[in-house]
Point group: C2
Chain length 358, copies 2
């Protein structure tokens, strides 16, 4: 589906006589990208637009990326299959959505009790992360790149305060994926409900709690109007979205456009982390001033300990069944250990100190 066209200036058409059988530096390439999000979805959708704008401008129009949102392609969670089949050249989504198809894709988004955004980017780019991710995606004919980080996701909106593990028993909560499995281990009844129905489900007590993203995206869904307890995060400390590129499409690009695409994706991903910080801060200030009912809560210690044990148990099961899974889990655990020891004496110590001055 990649469209290549010769740049229209007459002067460049002459160039085809020099190297007619190869991709020319002056060719124009148009890549079609399918994103999981709807049109104008904030922050996530800004990352794809930002990436496409950088690529176009840096390439002087030679690399065009056309973005189809989910209203166009009608398959929000079909992005993986469509890029694999070559129906789209690229995708913007999240790796953990594909764990039902390829279990080891789970590890490249965010893990409960795992790395923060800085730690995880360091693992991707200066540790083994990119190599391990490619080990999972290469056999599928795909290249996967970090696609933008949300920062620490909040632990969710609860209508009743959670005072102990007892309070979680049978609690109906919207929380998908691996974190939902961890919650299930400690007694929660995880459910998945379409975003458009979440508010009503929470209001009518069809569910007792809902996990979404963080202040900026949560505010739009209105949970602050009907739930008083906003819990701090543990389950997705650094949710990294994903750019997918069809391997054959990548290989057809000349080296300069490959680098332009690589850097545009990398920068758009970093930018999204920074934009998330900005938008979440604005939204949280808004919630604080307009919804004084909202209280920030940490889960009680016995809940954290139980979830931490449940998480370790599930990871051990994953590692036991699959050599590559074991290698990825070990790489993440080893990296986290050293990286967190440093984060504790730098960022964490600083933030705690600043909490004491006035």
């Amino acid at each position: 589906m990649m469209i290549r066209s010769i740049f229209s200036a007459a002067i460049l058409a002459v160039a085809t006589t020099f190297a007619p059988t190869h991709a020319l530096a002056q060719d124009t390439f148009t890549l079609k990208l399918a994103e999981t999000w709807g049109p104008n979805f904030p922050i996530f959708g800004d990352a794809t637009k930002n990436m496409a704008a950088m690529a176009e401008k840096m390439s002087n129009g030679r690399l065009q990326i056309r973005i189809d949102s989910s209203n166009k392609h009608k398959a929000p969670l079909g992005v993986f299959d469509m890029v694999r089949a070559g129906q789209y050249d690229m995708g913007h989504s999240a790796s953990y959505y594909w764990k039902g198809k390829v279990p080891n894709t789970l590890f490249f988004t965010s893990m409960p009790f795992g790395m923060t955004a800085l730690e995880q980017y360091a693992w991707f780019y200066y540790g083994d992360g990119m190599d391990l991710m490619q080990e999972v995606y290469e056999p599928l004919g795909l290249k996967s790149f970090p696609g933008g980080n949300t920062g620490v996701q909040m632990g969710g909106w609860f209508r009743k305060e959670i005072k102990s593990v007892e309070d979680l028993q049978g609690l109906k909560m919207r929380i998908p994926g691996f974190a939902g499995e961890v919650f299930a281990e400690v007694g929660v009844n995880p459910t998945n409900i379409a975003p458009g129905e979440l508010y009503t489900a929470l209001e009518r007590n069809t569910i007792d709690a809902v996990e979404w993203v963080g202040p900026a995206l949560d505010l739009r869904l209105g949970f602050q109007q009907i739930a008083d307890y906003y819990y701090t995060g543990w389950h997705e400390p650094a949710t990294e979205l994903q750019f997918l590129v069809n391997q054959k499409v990548w290989e057809e690009l000349p080296a300069d456009l490959q680098e332009i695409l690589r850097i545009s994706m990398r920068t758009a991903a970093y930018d999204m982390l920074i934009q998330s910080q900005h938008e979440n801060a604005k939204a949280w200030a808004n919630i604080k001033s307009e919804y004084p009912n909202v209280q920030i809560k940490n889960f009680p210690d016995d809940v954290f300990q139980a979830m931490y044990k449940a998480n370790n148990k599930l990871l051990a099961e994953a590692a036991a069944g699959d050599e590559l899974a074991a290698k990825i889990i070990k790489s993440q655990e080893d990296y986290l250990k050293d990286s967190r020891a440093y984060t504790d004496i730098s960022e964490r110590a600083y933030l705690n100190t600043m909490g004491t001055v006035e």
Copy 2:
């Protein structure tokens, strides 16, 4: 000093007949960059090399950046003047080095008790930071861009434990710049000593304490061998280096190369933050295992309170004397307030929670 040359392919030489008086998309531009650091200086020097490599590859060789380290130009702190005068097209340094020449350059590196790296990038790119920085640099004929972040700098190496403000009285410490002024307000005797002499000065008690950067860069200077107390940071929570570009040079670049340069600088800056996290984590693991004498300490509460008050006093003085300084300080304070409120319920809450599980 910018060198422009026509790309040598014969086919492109023809293009000059179409638009002989304008910069052509096919021109090659070579920019000379002076960096404050010596050759092969880790992390800081990697940022310039990374930037230059991206720019060259994305431009297919049309944008070349030649880096001169301080051994070549002999003027580590002359970068500002050399780029202003057009002797160099670009520089890599830090904005606060120029506060003796232009006081308001102080605010674009890191401020005591100020923003973390994520918060500060959000202020630069989604708040007013870039506009305010350009308001300072534009009258100087310069463009200034973020140039790479060290993360939270450590509070320094001390040979004796600091138990109260009393212990700081007359203490001789290497700590330069604004943070040195804050320390002076609480009784410290700040001195500046060339990096090559720091170890010996500390060993011979010419100084009692030394502030440098963080584990990765401190380890090379050997302080862990002669000082037991390593203090957590407060004075430079997110030290951002700087790319400087001569305004006229910038304007001569065609739009695609301007964008390639802008994105290469932006990405290299983000990358340096991530590399700092990686290298500091490795170095701290090394120090912990090989130098068990080293203890991490927070300054006592009365010291923090005294420094916080001293910092606010110095900022109020700066704001009183200069309208633009007042505007920048207010922008930073307002931004920090909302951004930190969110950081406290996300990153800080998560890191503290993780400190409790085992």
